[in-house]
Amino acid sequence: MTIARELFVRILAGAAVLWAAASLAFIVLQMLPSDPVQVIYGADATVTPEMRDLIRAEYGLDRPIWEQYGQFVGRILQGDLGTSYQQRRSVVSIIGSELGSTITLAVSATIFALTLAVFASVTTAGRRSHVRSLMSAIELLSISTPAFWIGLLLLTFLSFQWPIFPVMGDNSWRSMVLPVTTLGLAIFGTLSQVMRAEMDLALEQPFALTARTRGLSEWSVRWRHALRHALIPGLTISAEMFGSLLAGAIITERVFGRPGLGRITLQAVTNQDIPVVVGVVLFVAAIFVTTNIAVDLLYRLIDPRLRSATA
């Protein structure tokens, strides 16, 4: 199979995943016990039957269920995720306004974690030393400590005790440092463990011995040979974590008082603002699908064996 054809198949499969996610969201929406009209007016308001009919007609809730489904899917295809019950703005514009901040945070945190993990695995793989034990301990700590706790500790020391970085806000690179560190540390542990395990394996392989017999220094063997092998699982995990950071940075965003997808998701869930919830679900699913396709393409760049396997 050529790359173009493989890519085409992957995109089709991705579209199917999105369609399934949308349908599932629709079904769940139908099964919810809450009344959309009540949500739109607020729980305390009394709604007359006439107003109720008006609202139902406006949101298309009076149509048969399959027609509602058709419209729902049709709107999504046009890039319309509906209108928020609460804010009376389109869901697309709500997500759009918060997206920049979240993406910046997730991208920076992933790059930070990946850099740290590369450094940690290159320096400690294949060795039995105190540095390695120390690094393993740090990784374990990072995996087992909740992100909000790391965030609070960082705030306590680097903002309150010694005011190096701002407590909250979203205006300069300085305000990024603490949230990025918090999120990055949370994913660094797993990433580093997996990459080091792979690098341990690579350094045991005959090609590493061959490279050493050419007179390569230990450093070169690690950077030129072993690292590339470790990047393969490293990328898989980074991609997955990047996806979950987009939707899962809620706590960190709250701790540092940053705008972002997490904040609007939280608001939408508490207020039963269904269109926004569904919009975020679909958006995150789309991000997962695209990063996965991108990672598959990257694999081919890194591992030539995959190129001919499908040729």
């Binding site: 090609f207 061959t210 050419r214 007179g215 001919s308």
Partner: protein, 535 residues
Amino acid sequence: MALLDVKNLSIRFAGRSAAEDVHAVRGLSFAVEAGQCVAIVGESGSGKSATARALVGLAGPNALVEADHLLLGATNLLAFGPRDWRAVRGRQIGFVLQDALVSLDPLRTIGAEVGETLREHRLVPRTGIKPRVLELLASVGIPDPAQRHDQYAHQLSGGLRQRALIASAISGEPGIIIADEPTTALDVIVQAQILRLLSELKADGRGLILISHDLAVVSRLADHIIVLRHGEVVEDGTPEAVFQRPQADYTKALLAAIPSGRTRGQSLSGDAPRSAAASAAKAAQPVLVASGLNKQFGQRHVVNDVSFTINKGETVGLVGASGSGKTTLARIVLGLERPQSGTITLNGAPWSALPEHRRRPLRPRVQLVAQDPLGSFDPRHRVIDIVGEALEIIDFPAAGRRAEILRLLASVGLDAVHLLRRPRELSGGQRQRVAIARALATRPSVLICDEPVSALDVSTQAQVLDLLAGLKRDLELTMLFVSHDLGVIQHVSDRVLVMNDGRIVEEGLPDIVLEQPRHPYTKALVEALPRLPVG
């Protein structure tokens, strides 16, 4: 002056206490002259690979390397630090590993791998690397260097990968080449080509240290042979002396253990004297009959119009290079692969044509002994489970199972001690014995042996071959014996099939086929076979 002079070398791997130290090598001395080849021969655990690595300072962080002296020209290698060693590796000593898919980095191009020494030691300017690599690839006999330069290890055949490894080792024009099992895993014809290439390097005036488990392989190249066993030198001399007048019992046993046409019907391991095999000329009674088998994978005709018969009590040897189709043929006989046309009958009844649900109850009649039992056993099963499972399949009464397992183990030379061992706790030879016991448990009509001794040391191979010969005699076993090793085939077979490109190109008695081959492919195979210069 010798290129390399080793006096009283000892390599010790430090354990947690002095008692746990492992002495890999003791008291090894030799000298390598320009244009000469020293061969170090030994079985696994003999310390030969540890020696090779110690000579480039890569014996490992736990290794203690000591010697009266270790001189490279006039330089004392014992005083070397890491930086000194790096300057020597690739520049003065080149190292060739056994071909494995991963002896070259699978993620980098052949060009990047072969050019690495040039780049690291800055031997040529950056722009000069590619032309020099192309020259090197051409000089080791790689056709189409420009195309190969940009390919990856998995796109090359085993022989080409081995050549690329050699190109990489000679790129820094070292005076000494260490080749560690350079032809293991290659088939005979390619092996002969690689040995020729190594002898050209020797003729160019390089000193060669050849490490091998195979006396026959080194016999062509070596000017001096050292036989190691458990880290100690047991034999040391010119090839003539070693082969004609071996001093040590171990060397004699090693030489006697090498299977060939001359050893047929004789014991190889020497511990089970046998009467000359009575190849009783009974009326031939066909057990397995294959006719007109064909199998294509895409455009490739992997099995092409193959017909043969195996008679009761007969061992048919199937020999061919890798890629000749012999493994696919074995899979068709096992009923794991369906031929596109042609049939196999078993004891006169249909076999290959049966639908799977009707073949499954008959499967105990055709059993397999594979090359690597470690891979074909469940690592968590104990020997009793492995053999017991086969008995369960044939509904052997549960009450008598334990006794039957013991009887089967006894027949392959194992006993109750081994019942509770897991595969990893057995040696390679013991594992292969368990595999044979498991295969025999169902009392098969035909036993398929697919390279059953290829992963074993010569002396273990001898024991397993003797075991099979004994079982064949006692149980009237009918076998299809698949191997790439002509010597093994000639030793075990009553009849030989030679396979090339999916076809049986020659068939007949082993002596006739392998001593007076008619087909050009068989001739090439036989010529390529390294032979011992013994009378």
